[in-house]
C-alpha cells in the first residue's frame, strides 16, 4: 500500500515538473470577428497573430493565444471575457476594438484582476476608475478636440451638422466632445441627428440636415454607416466635407462609399507613412509580404497591444497578472509599430494622433498631432 502511494506521488511530481517546463503563457483576445464591426476584429486579429509569429515566446515559455468572438455585441463581449478568464485561465487579455464592447468586458477583468489592453477603444469611460484596464490609443476627449480644431481652422467651417450613432458609447461621447469644442471655438451646430447601429437608411436625417446647409458634417461613426451616409448625402446633393473619427478606417469605407467618400477627413491611430522605427518597419514588411495589402490601423494597433503585453511580462519577469499590470502601468516610450507609446497608471496612453484623408479611393496621410 505504501509502495503504491509513493510510486503514485513520484509519478505525479515528475508529470507536473515536465508540464511546468513548457507551460505556455496564455493570453486571451476578445474581438468582433463577426457583426457590425467585424472588419476591426478581423484586422486586429491579423495584427495579433502576426505579432505572435514575430514574438512567439516570452520568458522562455511559448505564448498561447485564445480568441473569443464578441459578434460586435456588448453582451457577447462580457461573456467572452468571462469565458477567457474562467475557462482558458488567461493571464492578460487583448481587446476589444470598440469602446462600447470594451466597457462591457472590462468590468469582469477588473474584478478578477486580469490586465486588459485595448488596441483601439477610445472612450474615456473604458479606463475610468479601473486599475487593470489599459489602452494603446488616444482618447475621445482629445480626438473630438482635434476634430473640432481641424474643422474650424483647416476646413474653415463656421457651421457643422452632427450625425451620430446613439447605440455606441464611442459615437455619443465623440459627438458630444466635438460639439462642445466646436461651439467654444466660435462655430455653430446647425443640425443634430441620430441613428442606431445597423441602420442603413439615413435619408430623413440627411434631408433635415440638408436644409440647414452645413459647412462640414461631423460623423463619428463606424465604416458601414459612414459610407452609406456619404453615399446618400451625395445622392441628395448635400455637398459638405465629411469629417469622421478613427472608426472609419476600414477598406469597406471606400468599397461601399465609392466616389461619395472622396475628400473625407478623419482622425486616426495610424498610417503606414508614419512608420519610423525598427519594429514598425520590420512588421510592416512582414505583413505586406504575407497579406499583399497595405498595413492598416486596426492591424497595427492589435499588434502593438500584443507587443506591449509581452514587453510588460518581460519587465515584470513573471506571468503573474498583478505583476503584469504593474509593469504595464510603468511602460515608458515603448516603440510600437504605430509609434512611441507610454502608458499611465490610469490606463490611458500617451500617443500621437494622425489625420488621414480619402483620396483616389485610398487613405492618404495628412499630418501627425503629437500629444
Amino acid at each position: 500500500m505504501v509502495k503504491v502511494v509513493t510510486t503514485l506521488l513520484l509519478v505525479l511530481s515528475i508529470m507536473s515538473a515536465t508540464v511546468s517546463a513548457a507551460d505556455p503563457v496564455v493570453i486571451g483576445a476578445y474581438l468582433p470577428m463577426t457583426g457590425n464591426v467585424a472588419a476591426y476584429g478581423q484586422m486586429g486579429w491579423e495584427g495579433v497573430s502576426l505579432a505572435k509569429k514575430v514574438e512567439p515566446e516570452v520568458l522562455g515559455r511559448p505564448v498561447d493565444l485564445k480568441l473569443a468572438d464578441t459578434k460586435s455585441d456588448k453582451v457577447e463581449a462580457a461573456n467572452a471575457v468571462s469565458r477567457l478568464i474562467e475557462k482558458d485561465k488567461v493571464v492578460a487579455i487583448i481587446g476589444e476594438m470598440i469602446s462600447g464592447n470594451t466597457i462591457a468586458g472590462a468590468d469582469f477583468a477588473e474584478r478578477r484582476k486580469i490586465p486588459m489592453v485595448s488596441p483601439t477603444a477610445t472612450n474615456p469611460i473604458v479606463t475610468q476608475g479601473k486599475k487593470f484596464v489599459f489602452r494603446v490609443c488616444f482618447i475621445d476627449t482629445d480626438q473630438g478636440r482635434v476634430a473640432a480644431k481641424l474643422a474650424l481652422n483647416q476646413l474653415r467651417a463656421g457651421t457643422a451638422a452632427l450625425i451620430y450613432d446613439i447605440s455606441q458609447d464611442y459615437s455619443v461621447t465623440l459627438a458630444d466632445v466635438f460639439k462642445k469644442e466646436f461651439i467654444q471655438g466660435g462655430g455653430k451646430i446647425v443640425s443634430e441627428t441620430k441613428f442606431k447601429s445597423g441602420d442603413r437608411d439615413f435619408t430623413p436625417q440627411l434631408s433635415s440636415m440638408e436644409g440647414t446647409k452645413p459647412d462640414v458634417i461631423y460623423a463619428p461613426i463606424y465604416y458601414t454607416e459612414c459610407a452609406l451616409v456619404a453615399k446618400q448625402a451625395s445622392e441628395m446633393g448635400l455637398r459638405a466635407i465629411i469629417l469622421a473619427g478613427d472608426g472609419v478606417q476600414a477598406p469597406e469605407l471606400t468599397q461601399l462609399g465609392g466616389k461619395a467618400v472622396e475628400g473625407l477627413y478623419f482622425t486616426a491611430h495610424f498610417h503606414r507613412d508614419m512608420v519610423s522605427n525598427e519594429r514598425g518597419k520590420k512588421f510592416m514588411e512582414l505583413y505586406e509580404k504575407e497579406f499583399q495589402k497595405n498595413l492598416d490601423a486596426f492591424t497595427a494597433m492589435g499588434a502593438d497591444a500584443y507587443f506591449i503585453i509581452l514587453d510588460a511580462i518581460r519587465r515584470a519577469g513573471s506571468a503573474d497578472p498583478v505583476k503584469i499590470r504593474d509593469a504595464l502601468a510603468a511602460t515608458k516610450d515603448f516603440e510600437g509599430v504605430s509609434g512611441k507609446i507610454s502608458l499611465k497608471p490610469d490606463g490611458n496612453a500617451v500617443k500621437a494622433m494622425v489625420v488621414n484623408k480619402v483620396q483616389n479611393g485610398k487613405f492618404v496621410y495628412v499630418t501627425t498631432i503629437n500629444p
Binding site: 463577426t34 442603413r200 437608411d201 436644409g211 445622392e235 446633393g237
Partner: protein
Amino acid sequence: MLGAETVDYSFIIQQIVFGLTLGCLYSLIAIGYTMVYGVVRLINFAHGDLLMVAAYIAFFGIVMFHLPWPVVIFISVALTGLLGILIDRGAYKPLRKSPRISALITAIGVSFLLENLGLVVIGGRPKTFPPLWSVEKIIRVGDVRIPMLSVWVVAITAVLLVLVILVVHRSKIGMAMRALSRDMETVRLMGIDADRVISFTFVLGSSLAAAGGIMWCMKYPALEPFMGVIPGLKAFVAAVLGGIGSVGGAAIGGMALGLAEILIVAIEPQWSGYRDAIAFSILIIILLTRPTGIMGEELPD
C-alpha cells in the same frame, strides 16, 4: 426649425418619394408574410432572411460569374423561390398537424439557421453590392430629386402587386389558396392537393421577397448575413398593420409604414433615434386597437 411659418412643399414631396420607395420594399416582403399566414396560419419568421439569400445570390452571380443583370435577377428569384419550397417541405410540412406554436418556433429556428449559415459561409464583413449604372441617375422635378431607382422600385412593385392580385383572385390556384385559408380540411376533402397549393404559395411569397431583396440592396448596398432581420420585422409589422391574411392589406400596410417612418423622422429630427421604435409602436397600437388590421375582416366566432 422647419414647418413653423411656411410649409416647404418640395421637402414634403421629397420625403414622400423616399417613403414610397421604402414602403414598396416593405410591401413586397409583407405580401409574402401575409400570403403564407393566410394559407397555413404560420408567421414565417425566416421570410426576411430570404431577402438576404436573394441579395447574396445576385451578388455572387454578378461578381463571381459575371452574368448579365436580367439573368442574375431571374436566377436569384428562381433559386429563392426554390429555397422557399425547401423550407416548407423540410421544416413546416412535418408540423402541419402540430400545435401552431411548434411551427412558429421552427420558423425562428430556420431564420437563425439561414443567418448563421450565411455568417459561416460568407463571413461577417459587409460586401458591396455592385451598382447598376442605369439606376444611378437622378431625375429633378423642380426642387425634388427623384432617384431613378425609386421610379423602378415603385413601378416594379406596382406590376408585381397587380400580378399577385390577379393570381390570387382570378386563377384556379389562387382560388385554391383562398379556399385553403378558409378551411384546409374541406379543401382536402374536395380532392385538391393542399400541399401543392401551399408550395405554390411559398414560391410566390419567396419570389416577391427575392425581388424586394435585390431592390433593397441596390438601394442600400451593404450586404451582410443579418441584413434581412430588421426589414423582415418591419414587413411583419406592415402585414399586421394592413391586416394579416390580406394581400391588399400588406401593400397598404407597407406603404403606410414606409411613409410614416420617413416622414416622422424628417419632420422631427430629434426623434431620429426612435426610428425603429416608431414601427414597433405602430405594431403595439394596432394590436391593441384593431388587431385585424386595416383591411382585415372581423374574426368569426
